[in-house]
Amino acid sequence: MKRIDSPEDLEKLRRKLRSKKKTDKTTISVCVSTGCVALGSIKVLEAIKAELERQGLVETVNVKETGCLGFCEQGPRLSIHPKEICYFKVKPEDAQEIVSKTVIKGEVVERLLYKDPATGKVARRLDEIPFYRHQVRPLLANNERIDPKSINDYIALGGYEALAKALFKMTPEDVIEEIKRANLRGRGGGGFPTGIKWETTRKAPGHLKYVIVNCDEGDPGAFMDRSLMEGNPHSVLEGLIIGGYAIGAGEGFVYVREEYPLAAENITNAIRQAEEYGLLGENILGSGFNFKVRVHRGAGAFVSGESSALMNAIEGCIGEPRPKYVHTAVKGVWGRPSCLNNVKTWANIPLIILNGAEWFRKIGTEGSSGTAIFSLVGKVNNTGLVEVPMGITLRDLIYKIGGGIKDGKKFKAVQTGGPSGGFIPEQYLNLPVDFDELNRVGSMMGSGGMVVMDEDTCMVDAARFFIDFLLEESCGKCIPCREGLRVLSRILNDICEGKGVEEDVMIVEEIAETMRDASLCALGTTAANPVLTSLKYFRDEWDQHLKAKRCPAKACKALVNYYIEPEKCQACQLCRRECPTGAILGGVEQVHWIEQDKCVKCGSCYEACRFNAIVKLSGEPIPPPPPEGTKPVRRRGGR
């Protein structure tokens, strides 16, 4: 690779790459991001390559390995350009048909297209799919067109143009001013205005400063940072370099959590390529600006995502929070001014510099500009990553994009913001989602995890889940958090086991308050949010657990029993074979039943039964089993 020494050279390279693209042939983009890989996309990729080879098409058809498009549930996913045909749930066996039909003849393979389960309509292109139709995707759209391992792909699409603009046409103050005017708020969850944070670091005394990418999204149920980092690492890197220039930092860090090996690999590779082109390192693009970037891997600790803890980890110490009497923006890594932002915040920077603050402010709401990326997961039909303008209502998100609740069940709540957020009940479905509105109902944006829960989720159990999660993750440094979580966990576990008493609610509230006021870091101060919102909006469910010792959602193990309805049992023996304790009695022609004292309530039989004969009971007596031999059942298909 030849160094690029000026913006003109960069432009020249871009033109060359683009003209090559134009004369270009058919391209098959296969998603090789974590989700699709989990579903077998590597085998699909290999099958496609082998098929092209077999048909002698290696020279005429491009195969591209790209990042995540968000609809991972329907993976493995591939698309064929320039026709823009999208195939989902592709299997290796489909390779032959895809090549001979679509690539050679230009016909679509009907069965691989997306079919709307509600209307039965098939969609050829992305924007015909309801999941995508309502999205606006400035950050994620390019994932499909870029091989994350190729800097040329990024440059051809206008990459590093923003960097050139910032370095040559703007002063650092101009850049900060532009970000401030754009009203970009921190995408890591807090929603603090990015421009102001940058300014603080820029103005802080000292000539050694740092900029940091936080890719330690520890919230369970959230994976947007991973997709962006895996799919388009250069966009994050470009944002970081621009930030370094604006803030006056000479060095940047990218902190990637342990669970994301592919993200770490792709950003490391991106850094190397950018260095080779001279877009990173000494005298960037001939501007005189020097900047270097290092990747730090996390080692698995939730609390390390907190800014001061993360900075400790970068220093090589353990990732524990420290008191922030002085902001990390002023006193961060090695006591020097350090500006830490989330992956999505950095990725937004090139877009804002290139398109201008006005463009950015036009998307979203007055208070929260731009788009938000959510991971819409849990009990919705279309799970995946969605990018939407801020201010979209929860209802649109869940029903229009998410396609409604799975299996026709009833919506109960949506959990946003991870362990620091809360549950939002049905009455707020029309709430426009942005930073402030979510705070207003006791939850928060967080990094953008959105877990939909249906009638089968117990809200007390869900609150307990977060407390137990945090109990394990708390660093234990300060008492309110350490001890508070321990007591909360004990109480909630008791309630879920039917051992709760009514006074517990008072104690819970008291502890929650103390933790909020007296914990050191955000983990402790926000830990009680899920519990408090659960208590506030689902008080009835709490009462049922406390008074009637009943779990209405039938989720709390200690409070449910499994029971086989004799009328529905087909004596297929499926459940009997699955039962680990031999608690199920019955035979080939004999209605089955469960011996309650042997049952460990593992739920295997419930999952295995194909006739819905097994039901869960909570707080009701269990009917006695039918006397032996009273109801012989003939197997289906028998004579």
Partner: protein, 170 residues
């Protein structure tokens, strides 16, 4: 071949370490990171990845060569989940217990695996074949419940598929 797959191959090839070579092994990695104290976690991660656990001798060497107190090395090795001070099994099974997986039945999956392998969380089977751990989010929540074995992902796991998945790893 994708990088994820490459990593899997490596996990299968883990060899027992020869302790007399520890100093040399540690030195190679420490040198690569330029004897930089702030790279302590990164050095340990590399060692953990290659040997699947961190014997005491190794921690001592790291402390000596990087010139960080042993207490700090030990503190880090015990604080983070990625590190293990006891040998792990040949295959590392991790069950995602994140919210998205939890609402889709991760608890049942974990319990099933515990029953099949006859071990608790954070334990290794007596034959050294599997170690069982949990993680908070594997990063593909859309496919929950998710488990990973040696870094290979399995999505939409059902309790009755557990045996089949584990059978693939001998």
């Amino acid at each position: 071949m994708s990088s994820l797959q490459l990593e899997r191959v490596k996990a299968h090839e883990r060899r027992p370490i020869r302790l007399q070579g520890v100093a040399a092994i540690v030195n190679r990695i420490v040198e690569e990171y330029g004897y930089d104290k702030s790279m302590l976690i990164q050095v340990l991660l590399r060692l953990q990845k290659s040997f699947s656990w961190l014997p005491m001798e190794m921690l001592l060497e790291v402390s000596k060569q990087l010139k960080v107190p042993l207490s700090q090395v030990y503190q880090i090795a015990t604080f983070y989940k990625a590190f293990s001070l006891t040998p792990r099994g040949r295959h590392l099974v991790r069950v995602c217990m994140g919210t998205a997986c939890k609402v889709r039945g991760a608890t049942n999956i974990l319990e099933k695996i515990q029953r099949v392998l006859k071990i608790e969380r954070d334990e290794t089977t007596p034959d050294g074949r599997f170690t069982l751990e949990t993680i908070n989010c594997a990063g593909c929540c859309a496919l929950g419940p998710v488990i990973t074995v040696d870094g290979e992902y399995h999505g939409n796991v059902k309790t009755h598929n557990v045996e089949k998945i584990l059978e693939q790893y001998r």
